[in-house]
Amino acid sequence: MKRIITAATVAAIALFLVVAQSSATGADATSAATGEEAWSIALSGAREDVFAASRYDWLMSDSRNAIETTVEKKGVKYTYRGVPLEFAISMIDGSDYAEPYAFDAAKWKEGYTVSFVAKDGFTATFSTKDLGPRALIISTLENGQPTAPQIVGDGPKNLWVRDLAAIETSLAPNPVSKEADSFSIDLDVNGTAASFTLKELEASDLYLEKKGSYTTSAGTRYSGVYGGVKLRGLLERYAKLSLDDSVNFVATDGYEMSYPGSLVLDDKEGDWILAFRLDGEYLPKDPGYVRTIKVGDKDPNIDGHLSVRMVKRIKVKQKDFKDFSIGLSGKATFALDRSTVQSCVSCHKRTVVFERKGVSASYTGFPAWLVLGYVDDPKYAPHKQDKSVPAYEDALAKSGYPVDFVAADGFKITVNAKDLDHNDDIILAMYKNDANLGADEFPLVLVWDKAAKRLPEGIKNAKMLSSINAKF
């Protein structure tokens, strides 16, 4: 690429010798402006810098740099003195970070946009292809009188901008892509950490684009061609997945969801991918930058709650994932599986301190009364109808009915629904001391807070729950 040394360059060498000694090194360094500047113009391009009054004055002190131009404004002639725009552009059109800045004439000719931003936010833009680099000047003298820096000259009048605060060019990465480019997704597979930017994922051989769909709980189906990397392929770079592994996703807003290995490995209808493109365009921050979706030739359709939005971290801990299904019965039946319970814990998390035989432990789960919403009415269940219809029958619970909590070994305790009603101190827990339940309690355990204000008489701790049955 041919670079032109401007007329100012020779004179700049003296300044360069001083500046080069004091400037920081590196492409991100900005030029040395003195501490108290009368004014300054922020510059953004291939790098960021500031065009300050001291540099302007220094350039103006050399008659070879200063330009005088007379223009007609609203029927009146005005004379301006200033320096060509290229002196500011030369600071940001390449990697030079100190004098002498070389102006890249070839890049200018090739074309990029330059925007002049005034203090009040007003902006005027042109393409460098349409104007010469010396057509416009930065001036602070109008008819010999000092003014705030402004753009004037031999170009369209809509480019004459007063109170100039910034010059932005399309050579700068735009803030949206900058943020997206710096986004990374973090993996933790059995303690091995890895991190990938979207660019790295897109360049990988795991990238594919295929059709996929999801259906919301309200029944609306959303389809599109998603682009992303195969989840299984990415994780298996670190460990071979098995059916009983668990893959835990954490979203940027704190939402968590786990997939059993069996789900990730199930490729009958298509592949689970970490998607970051939809119909060719990058997903925005929400629901992206990354979301999970299943794609395939036959446009697989998944439940909306399985498509995790805004994925930030993925954690795989092998062999500890055990799926389960607890039968719920009453006026309706329902199979309570692990992902439903986990989703429930995410939204209604409750931690209690449970004491048994003088030993306390912390249990985390969700209030037990919430499961009654699945079985106390044949028509409505949580998240299955219009949001204005409550799934839980308050009045019925208050009037009372027995609920059996049955363990895998046949142990059963019965609690009256009116004692559970809105009682957040009695919970169904799936974690103990922040870890999964041990084999003697898995999959769910009925526990309560030792400081609970309201406890049914004779309530007992029920472990290894296999079913919950409401009697009407």
């Binding site: 404004k73 609203k74 029927g75 946009t113 925007s115 931003v117 005034a118 009040d120 936010g121 007003f122 902006t123 005027a124 833009t125 042109f126 393409s127 009048k157 809509n158 932005e168 399309s170 735009n174 803030p175 949206v176 892509s177 997206a180 940027t252 807003d253 704190g254 365009e281 990058y282 925005p284 921050k285 939204c347 209604h348 209030p367 919430l370 219009d386 949001k387 204005s388 409550p390 839980y392 308050d394 809105h422 957040d424």
Partner: protein
Amino acid sequence: MLATALFAAIVLSPCLGVEFRLNGASLVVLGASELASRSGPLVLEGGEHVRGLALGELLPLLSEAWRMELRSARETRVVSRVEAPASKGPAAGAAGSSLVEDSDLANRLFSIYVVEGKTGGWDLCYGIERFRDLSSVALTGEILDEDGLEVWLSWEGVGELKAEIARFAKEHGKRITCVEVPNTQTKLLTLARAGGKLPDLAQIQSDYVPALAGARIIQGIGRLRTDRLASKGFEAFESGGVSWAVPLYYDAQLVFYNKKLVGVPPVDWSLDDLAALAREADSRAARSSSGKLKAPFCFNAYSAYWLVPFIAGFGKERFVEPDGRILLDDGSAKKALDAIIALRDDGVLVPAERDAMVSWFASGKAAFILAGSYSIPEFSKLGIDFGTAPYPLAARGGRPIAPLLDFKGFAISRRTERPVLARRLIEHLTGQSFQRRFTAALGKLPANLAASESSREANPYWPSLSRSARIGIVVPPAESYALFKNVMWKLLRLVLSGEMGTAEAIDTAQRLVDAGLAERK
């Protein structure tokens, strides 16, 4: 010769018409009947109702104009060198010729009016000044040569906007492309990220501002700010001390009541009054053959959008703090939630989402509902016998529950190479004439104050709309508001189902909104 004779006739007989000249050349002579046929109702700055049209609609688009000479049939007299702010202009009733020098004239042409005079001639109204019996208007300026504008439109009224923009483009010989985009924010961000070509103008709503301004996609519009547009409209698009869009129209939240079930609510009513009237309506219905109401009072209490007004009514002075945070733990949010829960527990309020609420209202099963002013044309079409009232006071003698004013506006791309054409189109679309027609057709509130005033008599809902505009607050153009909305719709469900107390919900919301803000920083 003929032309000279015709010109003399026009000059001597002002009622024959007005000549429009640019840079010394005659552009057109419009007869009184043609001017009259193109005129519509206008409200002048002093409040006078007249018929006329904007000068900008009669002239080519100008990039700049700095001199305007006005002539009447009488002797020539020149008022020279008025270094004119907006209020300066020709002396009222001055005879002869009047010269206006105003460096910003080109930007004002859509708010300078040619109006029917009282003596059969045509007058020119410039701010509060009026030049009577106009025979010619001569402008000195530069014709705008920008062309090829792209405009993104969204929300209701896209068809009407497209038609008006096409008319504007045809009249001024410009190429303007309109594209309907369902979500302009998402599309702009996606395109900016991909480095694609952005439109010159895009319709946006207030809560798009932080993301679009932060991404350097839109530019400040301070130079377009005018007193003739609602100041709350500019507030709705203000972030970091900069106005980022020009308000076009807005919707206000209102109380709708079924006239068959309740009478006209009293002026300065309170929430207690509303509850009492709703209870009475329910009792009356219970005694009648139709039976008890499904919902004496109903609104979508699951949505934060409808909660914000209650929070303001129960004491919050400023919804978003100067540092961008939302403080929910100052007592106002708890009082608001407690009041809503109390109404629900009392059986007066039945929270429901829009479809259910509208269905009950239409079938006479709900006495009072809260809905946006955009529902007025919809309910009228459905043949519902309804009335509207402004939101009540939170308590007798207290603060009003402040309806949210949901502004839509036009933002100009930071990268546009046609900034002046973009501004001229905005000036036209925010001008009185289009604002009045557009908002009347769609049941919107015009951002243009004069257009709002001119609809006073024709609009039966004007009293409640104007009161709502006065007491209302704008949808906050802040990132924290988007977070608040997202967090609250989940928590409100828990609160209303009794699964979470109001204090816990507010603590949780505060924590989650703060965490979300920290994450984004």
